[in-house]
Amino acid sequence: MTIKTKFGATRRNLAGIAAAAVLAFAASPALAEFPEDTIHIVVPWKAGGGTDRIGRAIASAFEEAAGVSVVVDNINGAGGVTGSLNVAKGKADGYTLLMNGSSDMTASMTFQPQLPISLDDFAFVGGFYNSPTWILSNAERGYTSLEDLLEKAKAEPGTVTVGTAGPAGAQMLMAAAIKGSSGADFRIVPFSGGADLKKALLGDQVDAGIIHAPVLLSEAQEGLITVIGTGEPLSNLTHEPLQGIATLEDIGIPIKIGITRGLFAPKDTPEVVLAKLREIAAEAAQSDGFKEFGESFGFRPVWVPGDEFEAQVRGELETFQKIKTDFID
C-alpha cells in the first residue's frame, strides 16, 4: 500500500515535473541567447575602400561585444545596391546585417527611384560613424574659403571647376545645392570616385573638389590641401585646427550633408533580436578598440540609437530629393 501511495504520489510528482519541463522547453526559444552562431556583416563595396575599412573595424568591435565570430562579406555592385538587396531579401534572423553609409543609400535612392530597394526594406540597428562631406582645394589655387571660390565664380562665370567624388552621390547633391542656392555659375565635373578626384586635387587640376571627410586629411594637415568648407560641423575631427571650418549653414546655404555609417537588418527581424543587436552595436561603437580606430582614421565615433538613426536617414532622403527637384531636374 505504501508503494501504491508512493507510486500515486510519484506519478503526480512526475506529472508535475513533466509539465514543468514542457513549459520550460516551450519558453526556451525566447530565452535562448542570441547570438549563438557566426554573424555576417555585408559591406556592399569592394574591399580596401573607405567604407570597407570602417566596416572591418566595427566588425571586429562587434565580435568582441557579441562573443561570437563576425565575418565581413564584400558583395559589391551597382553602387552598393547589390549587397543591400542581398541583405534585405535574406533571412531576417539577425545573423546577416548590412553595413552601409546613410547618404550612399539615400543618394542612390534619390537618383534612381526605379531601383527595387527602399528604406522600408530595413530595420535600423544604429549609426556609429559620422563624417561630414567637405570641400577641398589645392593650396596652390589660393582659395581660403568657400566664399572666396563663389566670389570668383560669380565674377567669372563658367570658369571655376568643382569636382565631385562620384556622379550620383551625396557629393553631387552638395555641389548642386551650393550652385543652386548661391547662384554662382561654376562647372561641376563628376569624377568616377574618390581616388580619381583625389588625384585631380593633388595634381591641381580642378579649383575644388567635394569628397567625404577625412579623405586627404593628412595632406590638409600639412598645408598642401586647404579645407575651404564643410557640409556639417567638423567638431568631431581629431585634428583640432580644422575643427572650426565654416559649414554651409554658416555661410547662408541651409543644407547639411555628411555620411553616417550604420548597421541595418532586414525589416522583419524579430523585436527581441533587434533589441539585442542594438545593445551589441552600442557597446561596439563605444568600445576602446573602435575609438582607437576612429582616432587614427580621423573622426571620433558616435552612437546614434536605432530610432534616432532611422529618423535621421529618412530626413536625409527627403533633403536629397528636395535638392534634386530644386537644383538638378
Partner: protein, 499 residues
C-alpha cells in the same frame, strides 16, 4: 640610404619566410583560373591583424608578385588565364605549348616575368621622384590618349581579316557601354537589370571568353581520349644568350609595365596588350606572332610583373591604388594604423622601402618557385582533357562568383562563354573584343572628364608637349597601319596565281 634600410628591414628571418610563403601562395592562386590576387590578399588580411605593418604587407606583396606568374602558367597550358593579367600570354604561349614546346613556353614566361619584374623594380626605385610627379601630374586627357593609342594598335592582334578584327573591337566597345553612364549616372543598355548597373564585369567576361569558350570549343575532342600533349615534355629554361637577343621585348615590357602601373587610372590589364602590340610591331617576324613567337610571351610577361612595381608607386607616394590588389593593401595599411598619403615616404620611409625591397625579393623567389613548379604544371598536360575541363569549369565558376560574391557574374561569364565560342567559329578574333571591353571605359570616362574640366575645349588634348607627342604618335601609327595593310594586300595579290 633609405633603400638599404629597407632591405635590412625586409631581410629579417620572419619577413623572408612571409615573403616566400606569400609568393608560393600567389603562384598557386594565380594558376587556378578564376582566383585572383585581390581575393587572396583579402583572405590574408584578417590573418595579419596581429602582425606589425611591414610583415603584413610583405606577405601581401609576395602574393601580388606570385599571381602574375601563376596566371600565365594556366594561360599557356589551358588557354585559360589564371588572372586577367595573364590573358595576353595565351596568344603565343598556348600555340607554343600545342606544338609540344610547353616546357619552353613556361620557361620563357618565368624568365620574362622575373627579368621584367627586376628591371621594372630598378626603374621604379631610380625614378621614384619622377614617377611620383608623373602620377600626380597626369591628367585624364593623357590617359584618354594612351587608351586611344592602344585601340589603334589593335590590328596587332588580328590574324586574318582586318575587317573582322575591327568589328570585334566595336563589339567590345559596345559591350563596355553597358551600365551606368560614368558621368550622368543614367543606366545604359541595362534592360532594367540591377546586376548590369555596374556594367559587364570585366573578370566575368574574361572568364567567359578565355575559360568557358575554350572548353566549349574543345569539347568534341573529349570522346577521343585526347591529351594536350602525348610526348614527354622537358623543362627548358631559355638560355641566357636567347634572353639577351630578345632584350627589346623585355625592355618594352619593363618600361610599359612600370609606366602604366605608375599612372593610376590606365589599368594594369591594358598594359600587357600594349606591350604585346608594340613588340609585334617592331619585330621582323611579325606574322609569326600568334603562332608561338617567344617575344610574344616575353613582352606581356615582363609587363605584368613590372606593373607590380609601377602600381606600388602611386600607392606608396600618393595613397592612390592602381588596381584591386593595391587597394586592399592600402586598406591593410590603414587597419594597421598607418596613414597612406603624400607624407608616407617621409614619415615611414623604412616601411615604404622595406615593402619595395620585399617586392624584389619576392620576384627572385618567384623565379625559383616557378622553375621548380614547372614540372608539376606539365603533369597537368599529360592528363586527359575530360578530367581537365570540369576542373576548369568549376574554377571558372568560382572565380566569376568570387569577383563580387554574387551569382550574376556567373551568368555573365556563361553568356560570354557561348558568345566567345560563336565568335571564334565565325573567325572573329575574341582578343579584339576583349581589347574593346578594356579600353572602352578608359577612353570614354577620361575623355569626357578631360572635356568637362576644360569646358568643352578639345584643345586640351594637345595643349602640352607630351600630349602633342601622343597625338602625333597616334596619327603616325594609323598611317603606318594603313600602309602595312596595303602592302599585305598587294603581296597577297602578287603571290596569288592568276585564275
Amino acid at each position: 640610404m633609405e633603400v638599404l634600410n629597407g632591405f635590412a628591414a625586409a631581410l629579417q628571418p620572419l619577413n623572408i619566410l612571409l615573403i616566400f610563403g606569400g609568393t608560393a601562395l600567389g603562384v598557386l592562386v594565380g594558376a587556378l583560373p578564376g582566383l585572383s590576387s585581390p581575393m587572396a590578399i583579402i583572405v590574408l588580411l584578417p590573418l595579419t591583424f596581429g602582425m606589425e605593418p611591414l610583415p603584413a604587407l610583405l606577405a601581401m606583396v609576395g602574393v601580388y608578385v606570385g599571381t602574375k606568374l601563376g596566371g600565365s602558367f594556366s594561360a599557356i597550358l589551358l588557354r585559360t588565364p589564371g588572372t586577367p593579367a595573364g590573358a595576353c600570354t595565351a596568344l603565343d604561349g598556348y600555340p607554343l605549348a600545342q606544338r609540344g614546346e610547353a616546357g619552353r613556353a613556361l620557361g620563357l614566361a618565368t624568365m620574362g616575368s622575373t627579368l621584367g619584374g627586376i628591371f621594372g623594380w630598378l626603374i621604379a626605385i631610380i625614378f621614384v621622384p619622377l614617377l611620383a610627379t608623373i602620377a600626380v601630374k597626369s591628367t585624364n586627357a593623357d590617359i584618354a590618349l594612351v587608351g586611344v593609342l592602344g585601340l589603334v594598335m589593335v590590328s596587332a592582334f588580328v590574324r586574318g581579316s582586318t575587317l573582322k578584327g575591327l568589328i570585334g573591337v566595336i563589339l567590345g566597345l559596345l559591350i563596355a557601354t553597358v551600365g551606368l553612364d560614368p558621368m550622368a549616372a543614367v543606366p545604359r543598355f541595362t534592360f532594367g537589370s540591377v546586376g548590369l548597373l555596374e556594367g559587364v564585369s570585366f573578370a566575368a567576361a574574361l572568364i567567359g571568353f578565355f575559360g568557358i569558350a575554350v572548353v566549349l570549343a574543345d569539347m568534341p575532342l573529349i570522346g577521343s581520349k585526347s591529351f594536350l600533349t602525348a610526348d614527354k615534355v622537358s623543362v627548358q629554361m631559355p638560355k641566357f644568350g636567347e634572353l639577351l637577343r630578345r632584350w627589346k621585348s623585355i625592355a618594352i615590357g619593363a618600361v610599359y609595365g612600370t609606366g602604366v602601373g605608375a599612372i593610376p587610372g590606365v589599368g594594369a590589364e591594358g598594359a600587357t596588350w600594349l606591350a604585346y602590340a608594340t613588340a609585334r610591331n617592331i619585330s621582323p617576324e611579325k606574322e609569326q606572332f600568334g603562332t608561338g613567337h617567344p617575344d610574344g610571351i616575353l613582352a606581356p610577361e615582363a609587363t605584368n610583373n613590372a606593373v607590380t612595381g609601377g602600381t606600388m608607386l602611386p600607392m606608396l607616394t600618393l595613397g592612390i591604388p592602381g588596381d584591386g590588389s593595391t587597394a586592399v593593401m592600402l586598406g591593410a595599411l590603414v587597419l594597421h594604423g598607418i596613414q597612406p598619403g603624400v607624407l608616407l615616404m617621409r614619415d615611414e620611409s623604412t616601411l615604404v622601402y622595406g615593402i619595395l625591397a620585399g617586392m624584389l625579393i619576392a620576384t627572385i623567389f618567384m623565379a625559383l618557385i616557378g622553375w621548380t613548379a614547372i614540372r608539376a604544371f606539365i603533369y597537368v598536360l599529360t592528363k586527359d582533357r575530360s578530367w581537365l575541363f570540369p576542373f576548369v569549369l568549376v574554377f571558372a565558376t568560382i572565380g566569376a562568383f568570387a569577383s563580387s560574391n554574387a551569382m550574376f557574374p556567373v551568368y555573365v561569364a556563361l553568356f560570354f562563354g557561348v558568345v566567345g565560342f560563336c565568335l571564334e567559329r565565325f573567325g572573329f578574333p575574341i582578343v579584339t573584343v576583349v581589347l574593346g571591353i578594356i579600353l572602352g571605359p578608359i577612353i570614354e570616362y577620361n575623355a569626357r572628364v578631360a572635356l568637362a574640366v576644360s569646358g568643352g575645349e578639345w584643345s586640351t588634348f594637345i595643349d602640352a608637349p607630351h600630349r602633342m607627342g601622343l597625338v602625333i604618335a597616334l596619327v603616325a601609327l594609323m598611317v603606318w597601319e594603313v600602309i602595312q595593310h596595303r602592302k599585305q594586300v598587294k603581296q597577297a595579290k602578287v603571290t596569288q596565281p592568276i585564275n
